[in-house]
């Protein structure tokens, strides 16, 4: 069932570089057919007047823990890469195939195959079969593969299969049972903590192994200055490494942990403020390629617990866009780069023809008012749980309309 052809008029298109351009956009057969002068509405086309607002690609969220359509649609997200940390883990082709179908038609799920069976970090999972079943990349989950031999074999195998390996960079030996970054706050609160170097150590190893094998490595969250320096250096050497982050790590520091706020319990944990600033600088200079929500809605049974006993993660889908737009307002990045981080780059890593406004690309499109103010309210979230550390925070930027494959999502 192909949707009716669509023309979005009177919008400002966010294209791959430069300022948004005032132009029309036409979609047919679920794909973008024309931009600008060629995009005039034809008889029978549906027409949407964007009213001078931004027309952007639908966001591609690289690394979420739950499929939560209302939250994703609220946030302008049309595709998400699902982490393998499910119960049971996505380590079997059948589960991957099921997950890949689970959001259609109005939301596309790109499963990330578990790198190892049960995410235990010891035996490789059936990666090629899971690729056939729809896995778009391979992930170590929210865990670190401690055995460097396993990681080496994983990377060389994935290099052969041309699958990106999405890794979680926290040296498990250093991290142990830590729930916070070592420093004043963890010391005062008496929380189990690990030094920030747990991340740089992990990043250093994974980069070295990626360099050896020629594999494509994506480190899902790089949150410390030292680890970002390692990524920066590796990129200069031509290593195929990319880095991601979630808004929590450029908006918040470990000072948020006072009062034992479990909504601020993340993996990796919040860092010192200098590291937060280093993340912003790395977004600005291109070291960080992807901003993702890490969407992980958790109810009271997982969060209304003592800090160290609570599960990590936040419901981030709804706030991904407005919090990323703060970087545009602050002059760290321009609008085109914001949508590269939120859509084009993750789409490219997953190898899907989406995430950009270009002829032939999938017609995943959002109309966005980047200045519309609203207040985050954890009691009234579209997400299945309200575990946001940004409760009561005023933000700007809201999705006004959203299309997946040219079909309007209400």
């Amino acid at each position: 069932m192909t949707p009716q052809s669509l023309v979005i008029t009177n919008g400002r298109l966010v294209v791959s570089s430069g300022e948004p351009v005032a132009a029309d956009l036409r979609c047919t057969g679920g794909r973008i057919a024309a931009l600008g002068a060629d995009a005039a509405p034809q008889p029978g086309d549906a027409v949407f007047d964007a009213g001078g607002m931004l027309v952007t690609p639908g966001l591609v969220d690289l690394g979420v823990f739950a499929i939560d359509k209302p939250a994703f649609h609220f946030g302008g997200i049309t595709r998400a890469a699902l982490m393998p940390d499910q119960g049971p883990p996505l380590d079997h082709p059948a589960r991957v195939r099921f997950a890949a179908q689970s959001g259609k038609p109005d939301f596309w799920v790109h499963p990330l195959a578990a790198a190892t069976r049960g995410l235990d970090g010891t035996e490789l999972a059936e990666l090629a079969l899971m690729r056939e079943a729809g896995a778009r990349a391979v992930s170590t989950g929210r865990r670190w593969i401690a055995d460097s031999g396993v990681m080496l074999r994983l990377l060389s195998y994935c290099a052969m299969l041309d699958l990106v390996v999405v890794s979680h960079a926290e040296d498990a030996g250093l991290a142990g049972q830590a729930v916070a970054t070592a420093g004043e706050v963890a010391t005062r609160l008496g929380l189990p903590s690990a030094p920030a170097e747990a991340e740089s150590l992990a990043v250093a190893r994974d980069i070295a192994l990626a360099e050896m094998t020629g594999a494509r490595l994506h480190i899902r969250q790089v949150t410390t200055a030292k680890a970002l320096d390692l990524v920066r250096g590796a990129k200069l050497r031509g290593v195929q490494v990319t880095a991601g982050v979630t808004p929590a790590h450029f908006m918040l520091s470990d000072l948020e942990l006072v009062d034992f706020r479990t909504f601020c319990r993340f993996s990796p944990p919040l860092r010192a403020d200098e590291d937060r600033k280093a993340v912003i600088a790395a977004i600005g200079d291109g070291t960080i390629d992807v901003i993702a929500s890490g969407h992980d809605p958790r109810g009271p049974e997982d969060k209304r617990l003592p800090f160290a006993d609570a599960e990590p993660g936040m419901a981030g889908a709804e706030t991904l866009l407005p919090l990323s737009l703060t970087l545009v307002r602050d002059g760290v990045i321009d609008m085109a780069r914001a949508f590269a981080l939120l859509a084009a780059n993750p789409a490219a890593l997953l190898g899907v023809n989406a995430g950009r406004l270009a002829v032939g690309a999938e017609a995943d499109i959002a109309v966005v008012n980047p200045a519309r103010p609203w207040i985050v309210n954890s009691d009234k979230m579209a997400a299945s749980a309200g575990n946001t550390p940004f409760d009561r925070r005023p933000v700007e930027g809201r999705v006004l309309a959203l299309w997946k494959g040219g079909a309007r999502i209400d």
């Binding site: 070592a182 420093g183 004043e184 963890a186 010391t187 005062r188 609160l189 008496g190 929380l191 189990p192 903590s193 030094p195 009062d259 034992f260 009271p300 049974e301 209304r304 617990l305 003592p306 800090f307 160290a308 006993d309």
Partner: protein, 347 residues
């Protein structure tokens, strides 16, 4: 034999406190970190009367008669539980002990559900020990009665710090109202995992002490110096000038090579022997929150030293401090004049 008394502070010992409930405007006692200096002193001063009472043959005051106090201990404890139980009973309250080992906590009930259950039983005060930092505060937010922290994870153990301060004050012969200005205290042991250390650092620094901490690097928390302490790894250097030496219990399970190589190696570096104690200030006093590993962190000759060891006096002060905390925190419930509302932050 006592070390030279600390220099008297500018305020007179006969201290005056804000009137009524403003003297202690907190519903709960979750940590020393929530208390101002004068509030710490207020609790110490309130405890003095109970020290007196506890030394008499009739040790009973019926101030809390009719009130129910629940001691909810989610982590094993003998002495702290006993101390709270005795404190409650001497004040005339009905004291009930809940041991996590025999409770539905083991059946998967969440901490909050347990707290709500205790709340529904209309306790007038709940004393909580839990293995997770912040757990007591979490419960305090969910129940209607005062909550006392009897130790939460590696965070705080406020009544221990209060009883330590009271013990020191008595040992130095300081009168009611006195702080510990200028006193040099060295805390040695597993600082990283110790809630006793954290609460004592907060309390002693607030009372004017100069605090040093000593531990091997693996047992020292990151950036501990921000808590206004001197940091040592060498015990002899840490002891120099110390008027009070506070030894911490070393948990044996940490000695299987995870943090330190062996008990005897720990003793070699950090055990308090009489020879070692001689490196501190002449007449320095020795404390330990118990239970002790004799022959590991402390030698028996030191622990049992009649003039230098305050260890049994700490236990004595413990009951008085817990009586003071229970009595003060239940004043609103008992409608003590002037305490009918909370001032300050909890208003």
């Amino acid at each position: 034999m006592h070390p030279s008394n600390p220099s008297p502070s500018s305020e007179s010992p006969a201290r005056s406190y804000p009137a009524g409930g403003l003297a202690f405007p907190h519903r709960d006692l979750t940590g020393i970190g929530q208390l101002a200096r004068h509030e710490i002193l207020y609790l110490l001063d309130e405890a003095e009367q109970w020290v007196e009472l506890n030394r008499q043959s009739h040790k009973r005051a019926d101030l809390l008669s009719g009130l129910t106090i629940i001691n909810a201990f989610f982590e094993n404890s003998t002495r702290t539980l006993l101390s709270f139980e005795i404190a409650g009973k001497r004040l005339g309250a009905d004291v009930v002990n809940m041991h996590a080992a025999t409770s539905s906590v083991k059946k998967g009930e969440t901490l909050i559900d347990t707290a709500m259950t205790l709340n529904a039983m209309r306790a007038d005060a709940i004393v909580i020990r839990h293995a997770s930092s912040g757990a007591v505060r979490l419960i305090a937010e969910k129940v209607d009665c005062p909550v006392l922290n009897a130790g939460d994870g590696q965070h705080e153990h406020p009544t221990q710090a209060l009883l330590d301060a009271l013990t020191i004050r008595h040992a130095l012969g300081l009168p009611k109202g006195s702080d510990l200005n200028g006193l040099k205290v060295t805390i040695c042991g597993d600082i990283l995992h110790s809630r006793v250390a954290r609460s004592n650092i907060l309390s002693l620094t607030a009372l004017g002490c100069e605090v040093s901490v000593c531990a091997p690097p693996a047992l020292m928390p990151a950036e501990i110096e921000v808590m206004c302490v001197h940091v040592f790894h060498d015990f002899d250097s840490a002891l120099k000038g110390a008027q009070v030496v506070m030894m911490l219990r070393l948990q044996m399970e940490r000695m299987q090579g995870q943090f330190i190589p062996s008990p005897r190696e720990y003793r070699h570096l950090y055990g308090l022997s009489l020879d070692r104690l001689a490196k501190a200030e002449a007449g320095a006093l020795v404390m330990h929150p118990g239970p002790m590993n004799r022959g590991v962190e402390i030698d028996s000759q030191v622990a049992d030293h009649v003039e230098r060891s305050l260890i049994t006096r700490q236990v004595e002060s413990g009951v008085a401090i817990r009586m003071a905390c229970l009595e003060v925190l239940t004043r609103r419930t008992r409608q003590v004049p002037g305490w009918d509302h909370l001032g300050g932050e909890n208003a």
